[in-house]
Amino acid sequence: MSILEYNGAAMIAMAGDECIAIAADRRLGVQYQTVSCEFQKLFQINDKTFVGLAGLATDVQTVAQTLKFRNDLYELREDRKMTPKVFSSQLSALLYEKRFGPFFVEPIVAGLDASNKPYLSGMDLIGAPCFPDDYVVSGTCTANLHGMCETLYRPGLGPDELFETISQALLAGVDRDALSGWGAIVHVITKDGVTTRELKGRMD
């Protein structure tokens, strides 16, 4: 079994009309044994930037802590907030620094830039980024998630429709994956703030 599949994860981020949504499952497993249904995989960086980390749980936590540290230092030094683009660049640099002994995480970044235009990026464990304008996925069931997103996604959705779309895509995607699911959480970010909802799904 691949090290990236040891703990299990599923996450999606989608872009809407001046809003983004980011969603993830909550399972923490040790191979086939489920250990927690409350494990945090989505992290808020600032008012308008979220990062989702899928992969080995210890690295999820370490990278999340390192990102917070780097973000706080940036805000103190530069007296300004990191834009999602800058955050994504420095996350990519962070991962590549460990090119020959990497963090086993495959992150997705979602945010709104200064003009409230959605920003999405996803990268592999050594920081190779892509910048799609519709959705990004990561985790142990990316094939399922891609299939659901390609089918359900439409551009220009408002916050409520985007929430429905991303939730259905995630819930359906994790049902055929033994290693992800066991609860789900969705954040919807608009210029007015963040709305967080927990999804009621199959707990198996």
Binding site: R77, R80, K81, V86, A93, A114, S115, N116
Partner: protein, 246 residues
């Protein structure tokens, strides 16, 4: 930096609490050729006296104003070789910043870096302070404003590592006189064109001999451009400004 044999700092406190090496470094700056800068509403201008020791020196090969990032540049008064070390280090740090964050290093961060290097050399083993004061000119992206507004910035960094933000300032030979001149002429709503004129007039005030387009250097960065970039004015462009001033 300092060898292990030189693990003590050469810059040490006097009884009165002064760091004399820094004071002497400031003397070296005050003996250097005049440089000045003015921050206008839509850009920044920096200029310097490039008068060289002999008529035989090829002025084209000498470059006092240097671009550091796309949108910022330095000028100095004091010891040229020391200046070039700072230019190299700052350029490298700016590139590192660009690789890490995917965007240009802001002028404020560039200034803090240069200042931090200069301070290091007042508190490290076996080295002396830099014998230059820098004027740093550039524009920063205004994050708050989605229209990508640019804020003009002008900073001075001294050999001690202290840095100051200025609307207009002068350093080097005759700087007191030059600053008084600037104080009288500076206006809050000054635009870049006027600022360049004022800069040239100020430079001419203390100039020994005739000021021509070949024995001064002028650098500008203008926010009216789509992609503001720091550039030197060519001798022809400087000549145009000088002609207008006459």
């Amino acid at each position: 930096m300092g060898d292990s044999a030189y693990s003590f700092s050469l810059t040490t406190f006097s009884r009165t609490g002064k760091l004399l090496q820094i004071e002497y470094a400031l003397n070296a700056v005050a003996n250097g050729r005049t440089s000045l800068g003015i921050a206008a509403t839509n850009g920044v201008v920096i200029a310097t006296d490039k008068k060289l020791a002999s008529a035989l020196v090829d002025t084209k090969e000498v470059s006092k104003i240097e671009g550091i990032t796309q949108q910022s540049g330095f000028v100095y008064s004091g010891l040229g070789p020391d200046y070039r070390v700072l230019v190299r280090k700052s350029r490298k740090d700016a590139q590192k910043y660009g690789r890490l964050y995917g965007e240009e290093q802001p002028v404020t961060q560039l200034t803090k870096y240069a200042a931090s290097v200069m301070q290091e050399y007042t508190q490290s083993g076996g080295v002396r302070p830099f014998g230059v004061s820098l004027l740093i000119a550039g524009v920063d992206v205004d994050e708050e404003n989605a229209d990508k507004k640019y804020t003009p910035r002008l900073y001075q960094v001294d050999p001690s590592g202290a840095y100051f933000g200025w609307k207009a300032t002068a350093i080097g030979r005759n700087y007191v006189h030059a600053k008084n001149f600037l104080e009288k002429r500076y206006q809050e709503d000054m635009e870049l064109e006027d600022a360049v004129h004022t800069a040239l007039l100020t430079l001419r005030e203390g100039f020994e001999g005739e000021m021509t387009c070949n024995n001064i250097e002028v650098g500008i960065v203008c926010t009216d451009d789509d992609e503001p970039s720091f550039k030197l004015l060519s001798p022809e462009q400087i000549q145009d400004y000088l002609d207008e001033a006459n």
